[in-house]
Symmetry: C4
Subunit: 197 residues, 4 copies
């Protein structure tokens, strides 16, 4: 059976999709009606939201190389990756939704919930890969331990995002701050992921 | 003659086009006017339609590696691939058309008809590749049998899509369900494609 | 000096730009207000125009592998390629312009003029490559003859496009037919390009 | 730690993002209401602005191969590259902003300021790469000298862009001319970068 795409091809395709997702978001940024600096200031919150979405979107690129750890891509991994890409592809929609609703509590909660779904589908993908790694003949204990540490970190991220949904009803900016924290955590890969040996 | 692109390059270009097609569809999703959960619910059918189009669009990536089976790309294969990409590129338009027309019978029938044209052009591409494989000097009986099984499955898919056009006049959701069935069938590649030996 | 990108990288980047150009054009296709088949018919001319632009855009992919014939990319080739990409990137704008102006004589003439500029900048790129090939130490007479034949064909295409601008004032459809003829000519690469040997 | 993407992968991803950024800008070009040549002339300034942004965006492709000079990508380089891509991704927004504000002094100053931020983040990236090159075991004196010369040129570019912000209040076209000068300077890579040996 030569059906499945190779890990590197799945990764290249996923990178292409992610590159388009994070870049088309800028099309939703509309020039303000008001002239001068005062007009630009009215767009500032939207720009801030775009900044968060851009970095949230882009960080997946640095981590789903996890697929590379596999010898081949089977159907479960393929489905898990596609479901992950689907939730990620909703990022421009929910970013725009939040901007249109003036970043109120409900819109931030919904935005964070979409980040949560993306993170959850990524964790499922991680679990699938980890399970296959442990059953593979080339099972490297160090790689498996690293993989397990990443899954732990992913679960902590999910907990923070669930908390962020609640926090956005205390104040929208608190919800966004918690979501930003998760993005920053992932850009410091060694944080919370112990080296093995 | 060094005119034709290599199979791997044709594939990489096609992947790029597919990545853009499935991702720009999200730009058609507009934030609802109404606030809160009730507003989001009004977008739910559109989101469902986007979900179907996303997975329908993406599954081609997993299957047109069929071009890889060729030694080189001749003009018939090139044209067949471009016509296939053209019909696929209409997916965002017909997805949006269906959403704008509130997913009524006619719009679903037209949407399914566009899927049918895409599937048909893909089947033509498959036939072209199969014909070349049988005439090539490296003809591998197993590969040819697999190829033939895929063509059979493609023809069954076409029959289901024709049926789906009719079903969308019984009820739009029936037409969409039949279209979704075809997508799911292709994500289970072994289903309906017998192994050879 | 390690400044210049490699030919393969320039080509990969150009392919990416072309993939985005031809695919985002579909975003300009708007769902018709009128319901049913009559509504769809009002979009038919726009769809026809999109079809022409899609194939015109895509055919460059099959031909600018010409850059591959070079050992390295110098600044003249780099500039020539970027100017070519710039004119090609205007294709969605002029396609949309023609559709908005109901495909009248002036809009078709302008559209064809933009195709002419794209073709002209491609011919300049071809000439630059040909000149470098003849001066290279690995100069292969067959490759050079093929290259020269392609330049001749490109010049004939320019002549047809100039004619097409005039024809669009006789009738818009004549101008478009002549433009379509050029696209078809290039999809039959052996037509008008004699083999050498 | 197998966390970091390879230099070639970071570069391929960055190229993808840049290809999308420069190409989606054309979607902001709207067909003029007025018919005929007079109508097209009203779009001419916007087209000019698009031309500048297109070449400004594209030139990064020819220069950030600088990442290739590294053995591996660490987190500082990763962050520096992402911040650079973020500022570059705002190019379509500020291009559109300037067009909507009829290219007045303030909008040109803001546009040039966004180019300055992009150039500044690129210079930071260059500095990070240079610092790593000098500390690497394969430190090649010629490569390091070339790298240092590029940093000098980048700093001169920053000075011109700061000047351009002021000039745009003398006359908007002066500000744009100075910004265009920087783009042209970078397309002549040997200009201002002395060869070593």
């Amino acid at each position: 059976m030569s059906y499945q795409p190779s890990p590197s091809r799945l990764e290249a395709f996923s990178d292409g999709v992610i590159a388009v997702i994070i870049t088309i978001m800028v099309l939703e940024l509309k020039a303000p009606r008001e002239n001068g600096f005062a007009g630009l200031l009215t767009v500032a919150p939207t720009l801030g939201v775009y900044l968060l979405s851009f970095f949230t979107g882009i960080y997946w690129v640095n981590h789903h190389h996890l697929v590379d750890r596999l010898k081949h891509v089977d159907h479960v991994v393929l489905w898990a990756n596609l479901i992950f890409l689907f939730f990620l592809s909703l990022l421009p929609f929910f970013t725009n939704y939040m901007a249109e609703k003036h970043i109120d509590s409900f819109s931030v909660a919904i935005y964070v919930a979409s980040l949560l779904m993306t993170a959850l589908s990524f964790t499922v993908l991680q679990k699938c890969v980890g399970w296959r790694m442990r059953n593979a003949d080339r099972a490297d204990p160090e790689e498996i331990a690293l993989q397990a540490a990443e899954v732990r970190k992913a679960i902590i991220s999910l907990a923070i995002l669930i908390l962020a949904i609640g926090l956005s009803y205390v104040h929208p900016s608190l919800g966004l701050a918690a979501a930003a924290l998760v993005t920053v955590l992932w850009f410091m890969p060694t944080f919370g992921v112990r080296r093995t040996g």
